[in-house]
């Protein structure tokens, strides 16, 4: 084995040497100035040529210190990343978040709160048990703090740094950073549990097509589109949380443990994904908060007390209500929706 390896290595070495000689030979002929004197720089590298040849890639060499990141002499990608962080991300964030707020205010003015049309029946049915509500609110609390402390990194400096003064803004940002780092753990656990506990009701199916066709019932309030435990809109929210949360966790932990698993390009890419998905996530959650509070009568209590009015269920989740009424004996109820608490 050893001898064969040595043999292979010898052949590779010989080939490499032959290559170097072949490449170097013509260069050697040019190593002279027109007057015949030696021009030692003829084959030397020049910053501009090298940067052009690399087309914006990094210029790397060899260093004698253990930190191999130091072997990168110039990384022009930093300028692209700077531009993303200073300009692009801020625009995406502004448009997504302010745009969503304008949309929601406009929608509220147009449609107002979606009421329970047949009024309250006075009979309630369990929608989310204590464990589900605990996980929801734990994840939600973490999300809000993560969003505020994250957006502080994106927008804090232009908004508050001069108003608060550098010292105060740094003190706040330092605590915000600790909060962002530590709350990432319960948030990630929450996303995983949400994924597992609600996956059964969130697989897209044919009912969703009908629901979407009817515009979710938001456009024409007299119609009530079909839905089981979760309608197409809620399913979308579920997948935004599961996939968005996963993307945030992966890119976030890459940033929290810098250069453990990736290089400079990977770090910059992680930050870009984290930033873009983050601001879009915030915009999506604003819509979620809207519909769960002032957007719809009777919706908040599902996560508040855990029960909903039967008429609310009849209008927004008719198929689910039927399932529940039939009870587990009929094979209709989904495991997590057992009415006993």
């Amino acid at each position: 084995m050893r001898t064969r390896l040595a043999h292979i290595r010898f052949i590779i070495g010989a080939l490499a040497l032959a290559f170097v000689v072949a490449v170097a030979a013509p260069a050697g002929a040019q190593d002279r100035n027109p007057d015949g004197s030696v021009n030692p720089t003829a084959s030397a590298v020049n910053e501009e040529q090298l940067l052009n040849a690399l087309r914006g890639g990094a210029v790397s060499g060899r260093v004698t210190i253990p930190d191999q990141k130091a072997a990168t002499l110039i990384q022009p990608e930093g300028q692209v990343w700077r531009d993303f962080h200073e300009v692009t991300l801020r625009w995406i964030g502004l448009i997504a978040i302010i745009g969503m707020l304008i949309l929601l205010v406009g929608f509220y003015m147009w449609r107002g709160m979606v009421m329970i049309q047949s009024g309250r029946s006075g009979r309630v049915i369990v929608r989310f048990n204590g464990f589900e509500r605990f996980i929801h609110w734990m994840t939600a609390t973490c999300f809000i703090i993560l969003a505020i402390t994250g957006l502080n990194i994106t927008f804090g400096r232009p908004l508050f740094a001069s108003a608060f003064g550098s010292e105060a803004f740094t003190t706040w940002s330092q605590w915000a950073k600790y909060a962002h780092n530590y709350l990432s753990f319960p948030f990630t656990i929450g996303v995983v549990v949400i994924f597992l506990m609600w996956i059964a009701g969130n697989i897209p199916n044919r009912t969703d097509v009908e629901w979407v066709k009817q515009g979710g019932g938001m456009v024409d309030p007299s119609k009530h589109p079909p839905a089981y435990r979760f309608n197409a809109g809620q399913k979308m929210m579920y997948w935004i949380v599961v996939l968005g949360g996963t993307a945030m966790a992966i890119t976030g932990y890459i940033m929290m443990f810098p250069f453990y698993v990736t290089d400079m390009a990977g770090m910059q890419f992680s930050q870009i994904v984290h930033g873009v998905v983050g601001v879009l996530f915030v915009a999506a959650m604003l819509a979620h908060i809207y519909i769960g509070s002032i957007g719809m009568e009777g919706a908040f209590e599902a996560m508040g007390t855990g029960t909903v009015d039967e008429n609310w269920a009849k209008e927004h989740h008719p198929l689910w209500l039927e399932e529940q009424k039939k009870g587990p004996a009929a094979g209709g109820a989904r495991p997590m929706a057992t009415p006993a608490e």
Binding site: A24, A44, S60, T72, L73, I74, R82, E86, T170
Partner: protein, 198 residues
């Protein structure tokens, strides 16, 4: 006021690492932090060149632009300095810096990398010039004593030049004219958006 710059004449640098050692010693830079390093390009091949690199004290510095807490400031000599009291150790300046200058005392202790450290052009930090606090955080303040950065002063071949940009550019140009070649002022295009014709 001078516009301070570094210039490494790659045709003179012999990768002796005297600049690195001088820097480490002058500022008591801890193990693992490399304010200055020597990078060898085309190692062992024709056209091999070594370049001593540290913070270049860029014009319109990228690090200062991306820092979320605004802890950088530029001195009257155009030296880019920062405040360790303000830094939250987010690591963003390292992602933006073209030259890999920012350094962190810790790699990632649950998101805390400690206060960023980098070359100060031997000009200390925001504390009072020459004070104990300034020395502890940023190292010596030679500029306040009227001296130039020690790395360049100690350079055995005078490859590394530090000082007023116009003067060191002039020295470099004269060298190029005299010896008939020069591989360019490394990093100048990126840091100062100019290059010295050679």
């Amino acid at each position: 006021m001078a516009r301070m710059k570094f210039l490494c004449d790659a045709d003179r640098c012999i990768e002796c690492n005297a600049c690195v050692t001088a820097c480490k010693n002058e500022h008591e830079v801890p193990w693992g932090i490399n304010r200055r390093r020597v990078v060898t390009l085309n190692d062992g091949k024709p056209g091999e060149r070594s370049i001593s690199m540290a913070c270049m004290h860029c014009t319109d510095a990228p690090c200062a632009a991306v820092c979320p807490v605004n802890c950088f400031y530029t001195t009257a000599d155009a030296v880019v300095l920062h405040s360790k009291d303000l830094c939250i150790g987010c690591g963003y300046c390292f992602y933006a810096c073209p030259f890999g200058a920012p350094q962190y005392p810790r790699v990632g202790n649950f998101g805390s990398r400690g206060k960023m450290d980098k070359c100060t052009f031997c000009a200390g930090g925001p504390e009072a010039d020459g004070s104990k606090e300034e020395y502890a955080k940023y190292g010596a303040n030679r500029l306040a004593e009227g001296k130039l950065p020690l790395c360049a002063e100690m350079c055995s071949t005078k490859s590394l030049l530090a000082g007023d940009g116009e003067i060191i550019a002039q020295i470099y140009k004269e060298r190029v004219v005299k010896r008939g070649y020069g591989s360019g002022a490394w990093g100048w295009k990126t840091a100062y958006r100019e290059s010295i014709a050679s």
